[in-house]
């Protein structure tokens, strides 16, 4: 395998690893987004930040959207 072929192989593997064509990966991403957002939204709620609550709720929606799409 030449160097350029090797690079293409690595790129393909990377792309495959990052792409979310697999439903299970999509669901995992949904869970990661939801839990990642948990601390932020909790901070927003307890600190009384209206903007933070709207942003956190939107990310929550994104997580549920991902679940609905990939589920």
């Amino acid at each position: 395998m030449t160097k350029s072929e090797e690079k293409v192989g690595v790129a393909r593997r990377l792309a495959r690893a990052c792409s979310i064509t697999d439903n299970r990966k999509g669901l995992f991403l949904s869970a990661v987004v939801a839990w990642g957002n948990f601390a932020f939204l909790y901070w927003a709620v307890t600190a009384g930040s209206d903007l933070g609550v709207i942003a956190g709720l939107s990310i929550c929606g994104l997580s549920c959207g991902l679940a609905a799409y990939f589920g």
């Binding site: 909790y42 709620v45 959207g65 990939f70």
Partner: protein
């Protein structure tokens, strides 16, 4: 407090639940997909009709997510246990031994492992552990995964009220403030009726009318022995241990007595099983039982139970004035005694044991973890989305409106509907205890208004909530994860829903007869 109770508002409040049922049962969507969309639906109805603001939706969604930590810990722990046992080859040995012990009788196997065994486990531990442990055993014996999941769900339902050492029953007592003697009596009567109906339901679920014919004697023997034990123990000893003891009696009758009766005895010698390799293979479950009994039935429970983690949440209020008080520690998790920790402890000890006897090889680790990840991720998302939706419905007043509307519409037929309200509470929260906390006082008040017995109606509440555990999306997600049928939650819920509704209806009818014909003046 709430929008006025009309058919329209009731139907709108019911919309997220109807959507879940439609998507999962009719369109066969996975739990995660249905749950994700239902969260949007619940938020929409809560905001537009119930006056929920962004703060309320955020707090409710956070509460919902936090609640799942407890159940996800069990799911991931149970998946780990299951995959370790499978990877070392212990499952084949267990399956072979159970086949021999029951003389190869499939009906006895499904009744013992899908009904008596989960009832026993529910008695000591509960919180879904019984389904997580018994359903894979049935799959290991060769039962279709969907049937195994549905049987374990149905089989454990009746025992939930007095299970987990009576936590749901204790919640009912504290929320209603009614005397324990009457509550224990009526609760035990209704859960025993559910118990007697569970065996035949599992036979029907497995093989239709032919299955019922084959399994009716075993169903009667096991059902009557577990039911009688429940009645005696709950009323004369302690309701808090009645599920444990009735589960033990059911196991003895189903696993040791019935195979020796003319109905189920076979030509096979049931004593020939290699007991040494069986005990070795079954070690993870022995360890789990030892940990559960050692922690829950000893003073260790109080000592270790002090290490609790919980989050505080601010109060919320809808535009209609429906208030949810602030909580200091919401849904606290006792880190050292929570079932997830005990399962994890059993897994670690099992790996040490299997290493010692040469069954565990280092290369198995990566296989086990990749299997756990593959199986548990879909269930994780289902549980998360469903739980967020449920708490949005509860904190915006939708669940309360559903219950009040149902009481308004049904009037004197209320005892028939009372267990369905308990079931609704279980469906929303995934827990008999939470359902009793949510609706216990409400059911007592409605009973007083309608001139019905508070004892009977409160007992119907907990019986319905108990049976309803068979169809809660969270338990269904758990059972689908452990039977390798993630994404097919709709099939499981379809299979168990009919039986659950029929059992709940019969319990309700019995309550109606008791309320208005047998004991009309009962307080």
């Amino acid at each position: 407090m709430l929008p006025s109770v009309t058919l329209g508002s009731w139907l709108l409040a019911f919309l997220p639940i109807a959507m879940i049922l439609l998507l999962m049962m009719v369109l066969r969507w996975s739990g995660g997909r249905a749950g994700g969309l239902s969260w949007f639906m619940a938020c929409g109805v809560a905001a537009m009709l119930f006056g929920a603001d962004a703060d309320l939706l955020a707090v409710a969604s956070l509460k919902g997510l936090w609640t799942t930590v407890f159940i996800l810990y069990i799911i991931w722990g149970a998946m780990l246990l299951y995959n370790v046992v499978t990877e070392v080859g212990a499952f084949d040995i267990i399956a072979d031994t159970f086949t021999r012990l029951t003389g190869g009788d499939r009906m006895l196997q499904i009744l013992v492992l899908g009904w008596a065994f989960p009832s026993f486990l529910q008695g000591v531990c509960g919180f879904g552990t019984c389904v997580a442990v018994s359903a894979p055993l049935l799959v290991g014996l060769g039962f279709p995964p969907i049937t195994a999941a549905a049987a374990a769900l149905l089989g454990h339902g009746w025992s939930v009220t007095f299970g987990s050492l009576g936590s749901s029953y204790a919640a009912l007592v504290s929320m209603t403030g009614l005397s324990e003697a009457g509550l224990a009596l009526w609760s035990s009567i209704f859960v025993v009726i559910a118990c007697l109906l569970t065996g035949p339901s599992i036979c029907l679920l497995y093989r239709g009318w032919g299955g019922l014919k084959r399994g009716i004697v075993a169903s009667l023997f096991i059902g009557i022995s577990m039911g009688a034990t429940t009645l005696v123990v709950a009323n004369f000893l302690s309701p808090y241990i009645s599920s444990v003891l009735s589960g033990v009696v059911g196991l003895v009758v189903g696993g040791m007595v019935l195979p020796r009766t003319p109905w189920y005895a076979t030509a096979e010698d049931t004593e020939e099983a290699d007991s040494q390799s069986f005990h070795s293979a079954f070690t993870p479950y022995y360890l789990l039982l030892a940990l559960v009994l050692g922690v829950y039935l000893t003073p260790l429970s109080d000592l270790l139970g002090r290490f609790e983690v919980g989050l505080s949440f601010p109060a919320t209020e809808t535009a209609h004035g429906f208030v949810v008080e602030a909580v200091e520690t919401y849904s606290p998790i006792a880190l050292l005694t929570t079932p997830g920790t005990l399962i994890l402890g059993a897994v670690l000890l099992s790996i040490l044991y299997f290493k010692r006897v040469g069954m565990w090889k280092p290369e198995m680790k990566s296989k086990v973890f990749s299997s756990v990840f593959r199986q548990a991720v879909p269930a994780t998302v289902t549980v998360m989305t469903m739980s967020m939706m449920a708490v949005v419905m509860m904190d915006s007043g939708m669940t309360t409106l559903l219950a009040e509307g149902t009481a308004d519409f049904t009037r004197t037929a209320y005892p028939i509907v009372a267990p369905f309200i308990g079931l609704l509470g279980s469906f929303m929260t995934g827990s008999n205890t939470s359902s009793n906390i949510l609706f216990g006082a409400f059911q007592r008040d409605v009973a007083m208004l309608l001139g019905a017995s508070g004892w009977i109606v409160a007992a119907l509440q907990t019986a319905g909530a108990s049976v309803g555990n068979a169809v809660t999306p969270m338990n269904v997600a758990l059972s689908s994860a452990v039977t390798g049928t993630a994404g097919r939650e709709g099939e499981i819920i379809t299979k168990s829903m009919g039986y659950t509704l029929v059992i709940t209806l019969i319990v309700g009818l019995c309550g109606y007869v008791a309320t208005f014909y047998l004991f009309p003046g009962l307080p």
